[in-house]
């Protein structure tokens, strides 16, 4: 059985986490891989806890949610406690947004990084809401779960017309952030 790559994107409603998950899963399909994307969100349209999970595999995906995370993205304090508690391996990547997350937990496992997704979105692109695409770029840059070409193709297929250049730049910023921590 081939090893799955299990990625969890967490934060709050309005941060574009579900869209980011759908894009990542679509990119995997473009490469002929299997993918399952699931989500949790509350009844609120903004502000409530939200997560999107993506499992990518070359083979069959038996359990469609994250059973043993390879990467956890946290964009909001509300998501920290529920979505980092099942990290059991020391090589699990845990990416916190250095601005929107205020309290950083003391995790027993995982390699923790604090990255300026929202600050980059705000300062360099003038659009704080595009932090999700920057984070996607970083995730692809760190894990190589899909190629940079595939993620770009998948992003462009799902974003509103007229925002293509902005999204491409956001991805590049994300790739760049990945190089700052990649060994």
């Amino acid at each position: 059985m081939s090893k799955n790559t299990e990625i969890r994107l967490s934060g709050e409603g309005g941060q574009g986490l579900i869209l980011a998950g759908v894009i990542l899963a679509s990119a995997a399909l473009l490469e002929g891989k299997n993918a399952a994307q699931s989500q949790y969100y509350g009844p609120e349209s903004r502000g409530g806890i939200s997560k999107s999970e993506v499992v990518i595999s070359d083979g069959e995906i038996i359990y469609p949610e994250v059973a043993d995370p390879d990467l956890v993205l946290v964009l909001s304090d509300v998501a920290t406690a529920p979505y980092t508690k099942d990290i059991r391996r020391d090589d699990t990547l845990v990416l916190f947004d250095s601005d929107t997350v205020k309290k950083f937990p003391d995790l027993k496992h995982g390699r923790v990084y604090k990255l300026p997704f929202t600050m980059t979105a705000h300062d360099k692109l003038g659009k704080p809401f595009i932090a999700n695409i920057i984070a996607l770029g970083t995730i692809v840059g760190l894990t190589d779960v899909v190629s940079k070409e595939s993620i770009e193709k998948a992003v462009l297929a799902r974003v509103p017309r007229g925002t293509e250049e902005l999204n491409k730049t956001a991805l590049l910023e994300g790739f760049e952030l990945a190089t700052t921590i990649k060994k």
Partner: protein, 383 residues
């Protein structure tokens, strides 16, 4: 040429499955987590020459589905817990009058309004006994996006062929989840049409099975084609009119129940996974079965010979499968996203041959493979 794989949700897969099966009418009232089904059909069904109506509530939607089906159209509605409760009275009418229809229930946290966006498998018993009185019903519970497609088609087929309402029991997880899907070509899956009357209008009786091509299944005429017949929620004679004759009442009730018994083998669908040498049995359905299958693989890596029996058709319940399993395993575990519902059927079918234990969650989180693995390990120590 290789067919294109799409990333679609379970609800979208249900829409495509219904269109493949030849749905001609949909009536519904939107409710989370089923709303993508009416949304999708409102866009697509008119292009296929069908009709989609949003009714004033779930009761009216179920009534509209019954009316449309009586005119010969393949009909469906979709809802979730609270709406499923509202549909029950008319569902009983459809069941008693043998009116084909598909009712999709995307289970969410309950009781009452419960947790609209939270997953659940809390409607298993409601699907069987939600409407009053002894009545025939069929319920199917797929566990993946491709299987939602094929089970939607099968729901229509069973419903049309045997004149029985079929409940498609989805849960929030598989309804909202997206997976890889390659649609079957036309002709790849069987699509069944209902059997029309074999006699002229003046001789037609809606519940007469004396000349049925399929024993116990009365041929069904369509309103608007010259055939006139009476349907009522009262106990009725084979000509459709009410009766107080106990003998006729009993005979007709027995017939509609025996009809399911006669054809249940055609309705049953189960999956056996690693059962041949299994010492621990896991009986599961819907999204919980995906956690169960994962747990089976992990447990085997740790030296515990587990296997899974998955029910795709929940009602009628295939007792023999559990009975056989109970004879060879040390114990059975039943993971469910409720406080224990199908476990009663499993216990009944196991007939005390082995112990049956539940793994349950009602905290609006999916059943995790570790929940099942821990339970199995804990029980294995005691043996």
């Amino acid at each position: 040429m290789e067919k294109k794989a799409l990333l679609i949700s379970g609800n979208e897969s249900c829409v495509e499955g219904a269109l493949y099966a030849g749905i001609q009418f949909f009536a519904g009232y939107p409710i989370t987590p089923s709303s993508e089904i009416p949304e999708g059909l409102s866009r697509k069904l008119p292009k296929y020459g069908g009709v989609m109506i949003q009714m004033e509530d779930e009761i009216a939607a179920m009534a509209a589905v019954i009316g449309a089906s009586l005119t010969g159209k393949k009909s469906m509605t979709a809802t979730s817990g609270p709406g499923f409760s509202l549909k029950q009275e008319n569902l009983g009418f459809a069941s008693f009058n043998e009116i084909p229809c598909v009712v999709v229930d995307v289970m969410r946290g309950g009781p009452s309004t419960g947790a609209p966006t939270g997953p659940s498998q809390g409607d298993v018993m409601q699907a069987r006994w939600g409407t009053h009185g002894d009545h025939p019903i069929v319920a199917l519970a797929p566990n993946s996006i491709p299987e939602i497609f094929t089970e939607t088609v099968r729901a229509f087929n069973i419903s049309e062929k045997y004149r029985v309402p079929v409940i498609l029991l989805l849960d929030e997880i598989i309804a909202h989840m997206r997976e890889r899907m390659v649609f079957p070509e036309k002709g790849e899956l069987e699509v069944i049409e209902r059997t029309g009357p074999t006699v002229p209008p003046d001789q037609y009786k809606p519940f007469d099975v004396s000349n049925s091509p399929l024993p116990l299944v009365p041929p069904m005429a369509a309103y608007g084609t010259g055939y006139r017949f009476h349907v009522t929620g009262l106990n009725h004679r084979i000509d459709g009119f009410p009766t107080n004759n106990g003998e006729i009442i009993e005979k007709e009730l027995h017939r509609i129940m025996e009809k399911i018994d006669l054809y249940k083998k055609d309705m049953f669908r189960t999956e056996a996974y690693m059962l041949d040498d299994a010492e621990v049995g896991i009986v599961a359905y819907g999204s919980s079965a995906r956690a169960a299958k994962y747990a089976v693989n992990e447990l085997r890596k740790q030296g515990i010979k587990a296997g899974m029996l998955r029910y795709v058709t929940i009602w009628p319940f295939e007792e023999n499968a559990v009975e056989k399993l109970a004879q060879k395993v040390k114990f059975i575990v039943v993971p469910e996203l409720n406080m224990g519902q199908l476990i009663f059927e499993v216990e009944r079918a196991a007939k005390g041959r082995t112990k049956v234990h539940g793994v349950n969650r009602v905290n609006i989180e999916i059943i995790h493979p570790h929940d099942i693995m821990e339970k199995v390990k804990e029980l294995s120590h005691g043996i």
